[in-house]
Subunit: 420 residues, 2 copies
């Protein structure tokens, strides 16, 4: 039995991950714009058309030649003969001297007209319209190309498409857009003690545990809109693990193994990874608590992450190592949790050099928000997360926090922010 | 032609929406836990089992009777005969006086043993183990029920299921969970001037505009994980609109109409809504800029929202009226955008009594973040959103902001935070 010889600091670990795999080009794919929200645009969008494609009325009113209204006043109105009504989507018209058209919002401006006078600035009797004030040229006209001009770059490459970008793509007649491919992530658990929840009823032996970490990791990957290849539970056997790793290597962008990363006699994933051709473990053992048994390596060009089997350790490993890489690949900012400031209820000592992720509950005492650490023997227990309101992160350069210290709490209930 | 007689303040409008439709019970459905992330739990989850289901070793080490180590020291070690090795997932064993088992992390604690001594506190030679220090009872044992006890309530009704909740459901053997049904939202646009982007090539008349607002609204609804019934573009004709509204009424939880809400002659949606049985318009005309032509009504028990055809007006109407209702129904917090503080580049006058949503770009000048309003004639232009970095919201009780004023900017690029 061996311990981890060396723990890698989280910042160094992330740096190593980025050096080895940060520049991966996922490639792109064409998608229907209706399915493109949340995706990263992989082309520059230049409009081929003007939007709007013609001069439109921005209001309900009357289209006239503006110069004919310049001397108009309440005592000396300019008078126009109304030739008819133009509606949005309907036919256009033409205006000559002394003439006007009634226009509804969105209607094409008739030829010859260059302004729309609003209803409150005039009075209509039958065919005749009296305009009581001067209307400047282009008044109340939404001009051709006012929103978007033909030839204009409207969306740059690399941005996350939000619903209004979908709208702007539609407005120029684009039905499909080139977006970055989603990462495909292969996941499996190892451990002869595990059974899949699907087979939980049939769990023969009394010494089996239901695999809860893998459903959690799969959910976290799906939240990040990755495509997941869930390979289930792999037996604790060299050949099985080796076969699964090499089988996934060419089908996915990234592999996550769960369990088999501690240093007991049956922890075979690192052993297999070291034995394969063009395969290396870059680090194994993270200066994180929980999360210590996490590791990272490469299989050819495919990165693989070894997450501990304990769910909370796996969660920390996932969030500090895998999320930054996936976000880098996808061109997204790393999502941040909402934070609140609170006062520690009691002292919690920590080990310098190790980043601690403390689960806390929050309560209010005399108007002050109090963070109380969840006292559970096993730091890997899932209930320490489901019972917690938030997480307090104690950095490597501290020896703990004192009761009464003000700390920042990352809220667990609210979930992530970020481009989705 | 009529204007809006009365504009409803946004807070009053939201209040009216909630009074009429806030208590809607969406009902629930059973889903596979693997698809349950982001959903609202509609049952209380009580565990029927202990997790872990048996006493397990929390470390690699040796399982012994703790009392036999109590007098142990480096000079006077306690000696045990090791009967064999127990592995995670493997068979159990039994320990008698003077005996121990080697155990790996996760292995079942053999009967008779009540503590695990770690490798660094002992020395093994062949079958014999010398323990150099006293090991307290239960040391390094993850006890049956330590994470979750049979009979314990582990998840309360009404919470949003995050991936670690999926993990905890799996750990107690649950494969399905009862979650709140997703809202089904029916959407259509009205306007004879509109063509669907799918038919953009065939857009016969030169006076047609591609419908960009509906793809945006559909995207916004999908971001909120609603199910969308997209009914396309409906002709500006009383019978058509009436048929579509009544057809949707019994199939969806909420209807969104786009366009036909201004007060021109062809704006038929409010007219139709008023003419139907058990149908009423609760308000029409919102004290928002942009967003004024938004409205809300009920068709029997189905709420319907009239959004303006102009995309930015529709976006504001959607965010201030529809998002709070959908979130209330789903049991989610209303998502919030990330905010930054910035200094206004120039004065922008606003009308008291109306909430203004100003699109701004951000730049840094001598280290100070500057918010510059986007100057575009048509406030409904989509490009005012796609070019903007953020939105400054000027409340009803102000007459504008001055150049140099510090304001809060809601960032548009990052997207929403909130439970997803």
């Amino acid at each position: 039995m061996r311990g981890f010889h060396k723990l890698t600091a989280i910042d160094d670990a992330v740096n190593l991950v980025m050096i080895h795999c940060g520049r991966r080009d996922l490639g792109s794919e064409d998608v229907d714009i209706r399915d493109a929200w949340g995706r990263t645009l992989e082309e520059e969008i230049v409009s081929m058309v003007d939007v709007p494609p013609f001069d439109r009325s921005a209001v309900d009113g009357y289209a006239i030649k503006s110069e004919e209204s310049f001397s108009a006043s309440r005592s000396n109105p300019a008078v126009f003969r109304i030739r008819g009504l133009l509606e949005a989507g309907g036919a256009g018209g033409e205006v000559r001297r002394g003439e006007g058209y009634e226009v509804y919002t969105g209607a094409p401006i008739p030829e010859g007209a260059d302004a729309v006078v609003m209803a409150e600035d005039c009075e209509r009797r039958g065919e005749m319209l009296s305009v009581y004030r001067a209307v400047p040229k282009f008044a109340n006209i939404s001009a051709r190309g006012e929103d978007i001009r033909a030839g204009e770059t409207i969306l740059k490459k690399g941005g996350c498409l939000r619903p209004w970008h979908i709208g702007v793509l539609a407005s120029i007649g684009r039905r499909r857009a080139r977006v970055r491919r989603r990462p495909v992530v292969g996941v499996f658990s190892t451990g002869d003690e595990l059974v899949d929840v699907v087979n939980a009823d049939k769990r023969g032996g009394a010494n089996k545990i239901i695999d809860s970490t893998r459903p959690m990791i799969v959910g976290l990957l799906k939240e990040l809109v990755c495509e997941v290849v869930d390979e289930g539970i792999v037996q604790d056997e060299l050949g099985e693990i080796s076969g699964r790793l090499t089988g996934l290597r060419d089908r996915v962008d990234l592999i996550v193994t769960i369990g088999g990363t501690s240093v007991g006699g049956r922890d075979l994933v690192p052993e297999v990874a070291r034995s394969l051709v063009k395969s290396a473990i870059i680090f194994h053992g993270l200066a994180a608590k929980p999360g210590k048994p996490a590791g990272f390596g490469v299989l050819g060009e495919t990165p693989f992450f070894m997450l501990p089997g304990y769910p909370v350790s796996a969660l920390v490993g996932f969030e500090v190592l895998i999320v930054p890489l996936l976000c880098r690949w996808m061109g997204l900012e790393v999502p941040k949790r909402e934070r609140v400031r609170a006062v520690m209820s009691r002292r919690v000592p920590t080990t310098p050099g190790i980043r601690h992720f403390l689960r806390v509950t929050l309560s209010r005492r005399k108007g002050v928000l109090i963070a109380s650490p969840i006292a559970l023997t096993g730091s890997g227990l899932l209930s320490s997360i489901t019972k917690a309101d938030g997480m307090v992160i104690i950095p490597e350069n501290m020896e703990g926090v004192e009761g009464g210290d003000e700390v920042e709490v990352e809220l667990l209930r609210g979930g992530f922010s970020g481009a989705r």
